[in-house]
């Protein structure tokens, strides 16, 4: 319909016209009408845009937070588990360290003694408040027999009064039915340590004139045929010298902490055991 030449001319005219229109708009932008028009348009459109933007952002944030929260909850649960596990491991480490410390003491004692010993754990305690005994997890198969002395590195604990195949009953030195032939380390004054079924013991049969002071260490004499000589028993905590009587009234505090007994050593080759001397 149109020749090629006509089409080129029309195109050029269109471009020039368009360019003129654009230039005229730019001119308008500089005029006073343009800002008013912009203001009017923005007045109506911007709040809507703002509202939509806020809503969109709120929705985006909510969605994001929901997922973050869900992720955080899972993370929290995982961290909680890890914390509990870490606490458990820490507890085990602490227990292990304490056990190591205790066993170190036992090992040191075993290295310094010539006696054959076996380590045992305390698994049960005396059911009555009037008597003092414990049950340990070593018995006849470990070489334990009635009458054998039991101790901790700090001092004497008691003696075995009953044995089964794998367990044994130990009567503590603080029991009123137990007695240990002992002496004052400093002056070699002999006496008998007797339990009171409390945390202290009596050192009996020490003559009134004997030189004994508060703080003196009491050790086993080895003469009762149960405990080897020289084992620490306790420290003199109180002395009452009555005007009458030939003996002093001496109270001693045992070195062994009977409330915290967890492991003990049983001496398997005590000096000489006469089982007939034991209480039935």
């Amino acid at each position: 319909m149109f020749s090629k030449k006509t089409m080129v001319i029309a195109g050029l005219i269109f471009l020039v016209a368009a360019n003129g229109i654009v230039f005229s708009f730019n001119y308008i932008r500089k005029s006073s009408v343009y800002p008013a028009a912009v203001e009017t348009v923005l007045f109506f459109t911007a709040p809507v845009m703002e509202g939509v933007t806020h809503t969109t952002r709120f929705a985006e944030n909510t969605w994001h937070r929901y997922f973050s929260l869900a992720t955080a909850a899972k993370e929290n649960e995982r961290l909680g588990r890890e914390l509990a596990e870490a606490r458990h491991q820490l507890h085990l480490c602490r227990e292990s360290r304490l056990l190591d410390k205790r066993l170190e003491g036992f090992l040191e004692f075993r290295e310094t003694t010539d006696h054959k010993t076996v380590l045992a754990s305390v698994v049960g305690r005396e059911p009555s408040a009037w008597y003092q005994s414990v049950i340990i997890n070593r018995g006849r198969i470990d070489g334990i027999e009635t009458g054998m002395p039991v101790m901790v590195p700090e001092g004497v604990v008691g003696q075995v009064t009953g044995v089964s195949r794998s367990h044994a009953k130990v009567l503590l030195i603080i029991d009123r039915n137990n007695a240990v032939d002992a002496m004052v380390q400093r002056t070699r004054t002999r006496g008998m340590v007797k339990g009171l079924s409390s945390n202290v013991c009596h050192f009996e049969f020490a003559l009134h004139k004997a030189d004994i002071k508060t703080g003196d260490t009491i050790i086993t004499s080895g003469l009762d045929g149960v405990y080897p000589k020289g084992l620490p028993v306790g420290r003199v905590s109180r002395i009452i010298r009555r005007s009458s009587g030939i003996f002093q009234d001496i109270e001693i505090t045992p070195f062994a902490d009977f409330h915290r007994l967890e492991e003990v050593l049983v001496i398997l080759d005590p000096p000489d055991i006469d089982t007939n001397l034991l209480d039935p």
């Binding site: 059911p127 009555s128 005994s133 009123r176 209480d279």
Partner: protein, 174 residues
Amino acid sequence: MHYIVYFIVCLLLVVLKTTIIPGVLGGLWLYDLLIPLVIYFSLYRSLAEGLPVVLLSAIMMDMISGAPAGIYLTTYIWLFLGFRQTWRFLDLRHSYLFPAIVVAGVVFQQLIFWAAASTSAGQLVFSYESIRIVFFQIVWAVVSAPLLYLLFHKLFIAADRLFSDNSSENGHSG
């Protein structure tokens, strides 16, 4: 089958008293937990059921304890037979009386132990510590006896039902 349940309950109470409670509560003086069991059997169960349980409990405790042999046997037998005779003319078989009876049992046991300790010491053993122990034991008895009563009652009745159902079923099938 009932005796297996009784034996398990005895064993659990002994383990609770000698291992679990000293480990958890340390120095708190809890009374002998087998006393409520002995009293329960004395008041609510037949002689044929109660006597073996009491003997078994007593022997078990005597073997575990460092106390003079036979002291638990003496205590439990006296408690068992004593309350068994008493409820025939005094109506003791009320659940609300159970704590008071357990307290009486605890005091009786403490008297027996005190007498034994005094005999072995050759003089009357007396200390404020022992008074404190008895006081704590009585408080514990008042608090825990109703719970133990409920436990024994529910457990043994459930055991009765279970084993009587089984025996009747076996009877029908036979």
